[in-house]
């Protein structure tokens, strides 16, 4: 399979061509946000640990908004290997760091919750939230990449991501997505999270496709003023 061989050959160069530092810093900060207070024995209730884990997920996903940055986009965008594959590889580069960051944070949170807190931390559902936030960041970045063919994407995608996540975090009352672990709506809200994950994934895939041809509009009738060298008008130009 050519596709498989291309993918395999691309892994190394893609790894080196992708911006790693925001990713690593994001994952590290995310892990530290939970690991540090957990190791320091900070006395928090289960809602606070859940809140810290959610913030960790948001920070870890921020780094992914920079992975599609490509200074040579002008060259790479017209090569046969599809945009979807190039993007998928770059996102795949982001996955291990983000997953490790989340695992570290989740493990620390779990340890504390098991030993100190009576109510459950509900880690599977929080992991669903984290995965959704990650995929949402990917979808936003891929969408911004369509609008910025010059390849400097993160500089716009990161603020857009922050705004979107901030808006989700601020959703009031019944519309709230980040509900307390003790909330009666927990299961209901996590069905919405699941739905959001599916929507974000589909959006990321759709947006990663090659841009289709632009919308067709009214055909401007402009006189053809081309002059062929054998045109008798050649000598009549003023």
């Amino acid at each position: 399979m050519t596709g498989l061989r291309i993918t395999r050959s691309l892994v190394g160069p893609t790894l080196r061509a992708t911006r790693q530092i925001p990713l690593l810093v994001g994952a590290t900060l995310a892990a530290a946000l939970v690991v540090a207070p957990a190791a320091g024995g900070t006395d928090l209730d289960v809602g606070s640990w859940a809140g810290l884990l959610r913030f960790a997920a948001m920070i870890a996903a921020l780094g992914v908004t920079f992975v599609l940055d490509d200074p040579s986009a002008a060259t790479t965008s017209v090569l046969p290997v599809s945009r979807a594959l190039r993007y998928a590889l770059r996102v795949a580069v982001a996955v291990p760091a983000s997953v490790l960051g989340w695992l570290a944070a989740a493990t620390a949170g779990h340890q504390v919750a098991v030993s100190h807190v009576s109510t459950p931390l509900r880690l599977p559902a929080l992991t669903l939230e984290a995965a959704t936030i990650f995929v949402l960041a990917v979808a936003i970045t891929v969408g911004v990449a369509r609008l910025r063919p010059d390849g400097s994407i993160g500089v716009v995608a990161a603020p857009v991501y922050l705004i979107v996540v901030g808006a989700l975090y601020a959703l009031p009352g019944r519309a709230a997505l980040f509900v307390a672990t003790t909330s009666a709506q927990w299961d209901e809200v996590h069905q919405i999270w699941g739905l959001l994950l599916i929507v974000s994934t589909s959006a990321a895939f759709l947006l990663a496709r090659e841009p289709a041809s632009r919308r067709r509009r009214g055909h401007p009738r402009v006189g053809n003023q081309t002059i062929r060298s054998d045109d008798p008008r050649v000598n009549a130009i003023s």
């Binding site: 911006r19 908004t65 400097s152 500089v155 601020a170």
Partner: protein, 533 residues
């Protein structure tokens, strides 16, 4: 240069020559103006402004009559967290503006232009001032709109109001500094998310939120939803916190200028002043509340009568902490809504409504009291000749407080004016509970709304809150259900029957079946939860 300029004959184009070579300060100002316009029109900043306005508009559209009773010494600090998105947006936008030469590759060109880099940095910092003014205008607009409400009580603190715009300036300066220090556009988003997380994490319930260390963050206003304290009891070091923010901003300004090759005594002064202010104000804001303040808080909690003024309306007395008088207009409807359903001998009693507040625990006045100090209240009320005063919370903008007043008045109307304030352990097991539910629920639309939210948020029975306190008295399921069935009937029909059978309905030992028969309401089956024998 030995030849003085005056030796040269003034040429006709002196004016244009001066205009072509303005002083660096004026060039700096001109640049600042351009950058300020770009900042103010930056999408992130526009989103930040929208993030301030949209929740405001949302609550304005959905709040209804509750919005008529803001407490200004509470609302002032509420503007701070509302400005957090704008502050973070300013960080991002100022950082991008600082990075623009690097991102667009114009750095080599700018490096050889007349205006030195420190002036460009200074212009960037100066461009933040209009954003700060926009923030101040947003704060001013909100507090002005709130103060114009007919039920607005209290007075805002200028320091609290200034803290939000100061935070916007501080984070903007941080964005400029990060841009001068790091060339990556990823730094500012990371910094802003970390800051946001620290600030929001400090608002999560836990040790950090209760400790004074939260004052070291740019934003220290926990929107805990607990009833507001009288302004004199708040004890928030808002003035020191503002000085701390200003000091930090000065430090950042000095750092920006130092990084962009600024020199001179002025820079040293700014740095030293900023450092001194930051350290001094930073330490002073962390002091624990003074003994006098603790005394005053304790008195307001346990013996509030001497700190309150009372307004008499007929046989009724409404007692409030200073500056809370506008809330009385709200109470009146509830009190009359209940008393009109009672026999004349109950209606004519000298009812006193008294504000209650829990001022003991947290610095911000937050924290919900575990126990109603019923005994102290009783003694205090007896001393001031208002036995059986009905407690009411200080936040009349909350339907739960309305239910609290209605429920507490209903409790005393049914059980007699001299009954002790109910505590957390009080359960009204008899059919009289249904009457209390009916009285409280039918008083006003807001008390009904408060009851409905309480009922939908709980399983089994319902707790009627004591003003300002988390505890109250419990109505078990059967009485609650009967009360709700009474509320479902036409109010005037039920009211007639209630008045006719008042003595029997309020007597101890009247069975549910008897009440059902008297009122013509179907009686729910007996409780299975075992709360009442």
């Amino acid at each position: 240069m030995s030849a003085p300029a005056a030796v040269h004959a003034p040429s006709p184009d002196t004016g244009t020559a001066t205009a072509a070579r303005p002083a660096p300060g004026r060039a700096c100002l001109a640049l600042a103006r351009v950058e300020a316009v770009r900042l103010a029109r930056h999408p992130a900043v526009l989103v930040g402004i929208a993030a301030y306005l949209i929740p405001w508009g949302y609550s304005w559209a959905t709040q209804g009559p509750a919005g008529r009773f803001p407490v200004l010494q509470d609302s002032d600090r509420g503007t701070q967290i509302r400005l957090l998105p704008l502050a973070l947006a300013t960080l991002l936008a100022a950082n991008l503006a600082t990075l623009r030469p690097v991102q667009n590759g114009t750095q080599p060109l700018l490096d050889v232009l007349v205006l030195p880099s420190r002036h460009r940095a200074a212009a960037m910092l100066a461009a933040l001032v209009p954003i700060g003014l926009i923030a101040a205008a947003l704060v001013g607009a909100r507090i002005a709109v709130l103060a114009a409400r007919p039920g607005a009580s209290g007075a805002p603190s200028a320091f609290e109001l200034a803290c939000g715009p100061a935070m916007v300036l501080l984070l903007g300066a941080l964005g400029v500094l990060l841009g001068e220090l790091f060339r990556s556009p990823a730094v500012a988003p990371l910094a802003s998310v970390v800051l946001a997380v620290l600030i929001l994490a400090a608002l999560l319930p836990g040790r950090l939120a209760d400790s004074s260390a939260q004052w070291l963050l740019p934003l220290a206003s926990r929107p805990d939803g607990s009833p507001p304290l009288p302004a004199g009891l708040l004890g928030r070091p808002a003035g020191w916190h503002l000085a701390y923010l200003v000091g930090l901003t000065a430090l950042l300004v000095a750092a920006v200028l130092a990084v962009s090759r600024g020199r001179g005594a002025a820079l040293g002064t700014v740095a030293a002043g900023g450092l001194a202010l930051t350290v001094a104000a930073g330490v002073l804001q962390l002091r624990s509340p003074s003994g006098d303040l603790m005394m005053a808080r304790s008195e307001a909690t346990y013996q509030p009568a001497s700190r309150q003024t009372c307004e008499h309306r007929g046989t009724l007395a409404y007692c409030v902490f200073p500056a809370f008088t506008p809330q009385i207009a709200g109470w009146d409807g509830v009190v009359h809504g209940i008393l009109r359903r009672t026999p004349p001998e109950v209606m004519k009693q000298p009812w006193t409504i008294r504000q209650r507040v829990w001022a003991i625990s947290a610095q911000s006045g937050g924290g919900l009291a575990p126990e109603v100090p019923a005994a102290q209240w009783r003694a205090d009320d007896l001393r001031h000749g208002t036995p059986g005063a009905v407690p009411v919370a200080t936040n009349w903008n909350d339907d739960d407080s309305v239910l609290g007043l209605a429920g507490q008045l209903a409790y005393r109307v049914v059980l007699g004016a001299n009954v002790t304030a109910p505590t957390g352990a009080t359960v009204v097991c008899e059919a009289r509970g249904a009457l209390m539910i009916w009285l409280a629920g039918q008083a006003t639309a807001r008390s009904r709304h408060g009851l409905d939210s309480r009922v939908s948020g709980s399983t089994g029975g319902v707790t009627i809150p004591t003003g300002g306190f988390d505890s109250g008295y419990d109505i078990p399921t059967r009485a609650l259900t009967l009360g709700l069935r009474m509320l479902a009937q036409p109010a005037d029909v039920i009211a007639d029957r209630v008045l006719r059978s008042w003595p029997e309905l309020t007597a101890a030992g009247t069975t549910f079946e008897r009440v059902g028969a008297l009122l013509g309401v179907e009686v729910p089956p007996a409780d299975q939860d075992g709360v009442c024998p």
